[in-house]
């Protein structure tokens, strides 16, 4: 008897009436845009909320002419206050736990992203494991662009980033908010992808977007990289620099690139298979050495394929020289700009804990010697026959 009363009483406790959540009372945020006006300090958040009425299903007319997402733009004096102000325009409870990307406007990134990162990181539902992107120019056009093929822009962006990480060296792995947070606290640098709206007459209506054959017009584009140092965007890397940067920090991804070998142009696909970065002390100066093994393939070559072992060896040597030269040039360039993109400081700090701090405290990391070694191996070929 006592047991049955107790079990009935216990079942009342399991209802959790205070925190019940109904799916159709939630605004499911798929992408967040954050902006901050440097003059007035006014903050703006763009919430891209999934429209449940437009069923993003595989078959049939997708929910008629309904937009797949709605973008809510809310401004306020601080990001925290915006969470309360949101309900002036939003009829459902904000649900931010499942968003897939954060876009920060360029001016907010240049001004400093510390409060943006802390704001998201400090909330238990903040989800710091999503990629961060920097919008080229103003944020609102980026947040109000429909994408073809993938109807929800957040899915589109997420998928593109994944492909770019895997199939190119243009985007690295460490672009998530948590990586930015950790690296900023360690005074390291991060390079985030830049997203922009392509020029052209942008379809303002998802129906028009869906019926437009030219996918390039008014679509989003991810290119170039924003260098973030000390919570601020300090400059840009173009696509070629991005390749060298990601090689130098050990990102693995395939990348096809055209090289000049023996005066001939040759497109080779390269992939990093081994990467090692260490610091030693030589002549009372720290020496950071970066060693990498690359595998190259002529799978995508349409111009020239080596025909003999000799030619292969020569090709390997020349490609290795070219890449080493490019990497060294890239290092010089970043050094001139004061960007520690090769993580020299961090390497010295962690590998030379006794003597390292003295160097870093006494002068700048420019005094550190850097040696870069590239080993190239020609492994895969598309066709052995002379083209």
């Amino acid at each position: 008897m006592g047991t049955s009363i107790a079990s009935v009483l216990m079942s009342f406790f399991l209802t959790a009436c205070w925190d019940k959540i109904e799916m159709n009372e939630l605004a499911l945020v798929s992408m967040v845009g954050m902006d901050s006006d440097p003059d007035t300090g006014q903050k703006t958040i763009y919430y891209q909320v999934v429209n449940p009425a437009s069923s993003v299903s595989a078959k049939g007319s997708p929910g008629g002419d309904q937009a797949p997402v709605y973008t809510y733009e809310i401004s306020g004096p601080s990001f925290g206050e915006i969470r309360s102000l949101a309900y002036e325009v939003l009829p459902r409870k904000l649900f931010v736990a499942h968003y897939k990307a954060i876009v920060v406007s360029q001016r907010a990134a240049e001004q400093g992203m510390r409060d943006i990162i802390n704001f998201i990181e400090m909330q238990p539902n903040g989800r710091a494991s999503v990629p961060m992107l920097v919008a080229d120019g103003p944020l609102s056009p980026v947040m109000r662009t429909f994408t073809p093929l993938e109807r929800v822009p957040a899915d589109d962006v997420e998928s593109r980033l994944k492909l770019l990480t895997r199939e190119s060296l243009m985007v690295g792995k460490h672009i998530r908010l948590k990586d930015v947070d950790e690296r900023m606290q360690q005074s390291r640098a991060v390079v985030l992808p830049i997203i922009r709206e392509r020029l052209g007459n942008k379809p303002q209506d998802s129906g028009a977007r869906a019926s437009e054959i030219n996918a390039s017009i008014g679509n989003l584009q991810i290119e170039e990289g924003a260098v973030i140092q000390n919570y601020r965007m300090v400059g840009r890397l173009n696509d070629t620099d991005l390749i060298w940067y990601h090689l130098l920090v050990g990102d693995k991804g395939k990348q096809a690139k055209q090289f000049q070998v023996n005066g001939k142009r040759l497109t080779l696909e390269m992939e990093q298979v081994r990467f090692n970065r260490s610091a030693t002390c030589r002549n009372n100066r720290p020496l950071v050495s970066i060693r990498m093994d690359l595998e190259i393939s002529s799978r995508l070559a349409s111009d020239y394929v080596p025909q003999s072992w000799n030619e292969t060896a020569q090709l390997q040597k020349q490609v290795s020289q070219t890449i080493t030269q490019e990497l060294e040039d890239f290092y010089e360039k970043t050094k001139k700009k004061g960007w520690d993109l090769l993580e020299i400081r961090e390497t010295v700090r962690s590998h030379l804990p006794r003597s390292g701090p003295n160097f870093l405290a006494g002068g700048d990391w420019n005094d550190v010697d850097v040696s870069i070694g590239v080993n190239v191996q020609f492994r895969r070929i598309g066709s052995i026959h002379k083209l």
Partner: protein, 380 residues
């Protein structure tokens, strides 16, 4: 004469004569140590110990074992007696009862902390709207119900749930290992870890000296095996904490782990396996909640058994009600906000716990020795 009379009265009114195995007691000790520690201490430990923080539980655990030796020696003098009966036997009824009541209040205050940490966690993560009292009543009701079934039920319940805590917990932590980086430990052993360890004395008190509560189980353990199981339990708890700290540093890095409110929760929240396994942090929430429940359960058992043994009660339910009200009230009022709690623990936890875990047992031990010496002298 007086001695045997009192002890005879106690054995007659002890609630049941449940026997728990040494392994069950070992598991209780481990889960009691992990309990709230995973919520409250992890972030503080990493903030203080940096990349070498995983060494700190080793030292604190060694201290905990040393402290437990005092209790074990004390218990040797009173085989078959619990913490509630020993003071009365050692110091006589009036003074001994006062000390037993101090322990009762100590248990209620510890339970207050445990429950408050629980409601802070739930309000901060998955249930922001629910008032804390709901959690307290819920936990205390189930705990009191379990305790009413006897000590064997308490031990068996714990033994039953432990595999459901152990395997999911380590499994989800292993799933997170995609983000593992050895660089986060470098430079290894270059922080002033020994200085930090000595500075952070509150870690010795909470959770290690709180294991004193487990002395309430001593009379029930099979073949008087309490001592070794307790020592093994404290050691296993310390090693688990060390492993968890190690994993968190490798997965989150020192910077993030010392900034986040609940690093264990966040690390699992960020697990993402091939777009299929995502947002699995509810697993870790449930594991942490059950661990907290075990700690509450031990404290409720301790408080109730103490009252039962001191006052030789006949009806039980008014005492469960009273204990629940006391514990819920102390949870509601134990601190205003976590800042106050942190300040308190960094200044006073060590002193506070030392008083209950070392000073009083030390006095009891001394009193027993003196009494034995006097009695021997009389016999001659």
């Amino acid at each position: 004469m007086f001695n045997s009379g009192v002890s005879g009265a106690f054995t007659s009114c002890e609630e049941g004569t449940g026997i728990i195995s040494r392994f069950q007691f070992f598991l209780l000790a481990v889960n009691f140590i992990l309990g709230t520690t995973l919520f409250v201490q992890i972030q503080i430990l990493i903030e203080q110990g940096k990349q070498d923080a995983w060494l700190m539980p080793w030292w604190a655990g060694a201290f905990g074992i040393a402290a437990s030796l005092v209790w074990i020696v004390l218990h040797r003098h009173y085989p078959g007696k619990s913490l509630a009966q020993i003071p009365i036997l050692a110091l006589g009824r009036p003074l001994g009862m006062a000390i037993s009541m101090l322990y009762f209040l100590h248990f209620c205050i510890l339970a207050g902390w445990v429950l408050r940490n629980l409601s802070d966690f739930l309000n901060g993560t998955i249930m922001p709207q629910t008032p804390g009292v709901v959690f307290y009543v819920m936990f205390l009701f189930v705990a009191a119900f379990t305790v009413a079934q006897g000590v064997e039920t308490v031990a068996r319940l714990n033994q039953f749930v432990t595999p459901f805590l152990f395997f999911p917990f380590w499994f989800v932590l292993l799933l997170a290992s995609k983000d593992w980086s050895w660089d986060r430990f470098q430079p290894a052993l270059h922080t002033d870890i020994w200085g930090t360890i000595l500075h952070n004395h509150s870690f010795l008190g909470f959770p290690f000296m709180e294991t004193l509560t487990l002395m309430m189980f001593f009379p029930h353990i099979q073949k008087d095996g309490a001592g070794r199981s307790l020592i093994l339990g404290i050691a296993a708890g310390a090693v688990s904490l060390s492993l968890i700290l190690y994993m968190l540093i490798g997965l989150l890095g020192v910077e993030r782990a010392s900034k986040l409110t609940y690093p264990v929760y966040t690390v699992v929240q960020e697990v993402s396996l091939g777009e299929v396994v995502e947002n699995i942090h509810s697993i870790i929430s449930v594991v942490l909640l059950i661990l907290i429940f075990i700690k509450t359960l031990v404290l409720v058992y301790g408080a109730h058994a103490l009252l039962n043994q001191v006052f030789r009660t006949e009806t039980n339910w008014p005492f469960y009600l009273a204990i629940s009200v006391l514990m819920a009230a102390s949870a509601e009022s134990i601190y205003v906000n976590p800042i106050q709690n942190n300040e308190w623990s960094s200044h006073y936890t060590f002193v506070y716990d030392t008083f209950f875990a070392l000073v009083i047992p030390g006095v009891l031990l001394a009193a027993t020795r003196v009494k034995n010496a006097v009695q021997k002298g009389r016999k001659r």
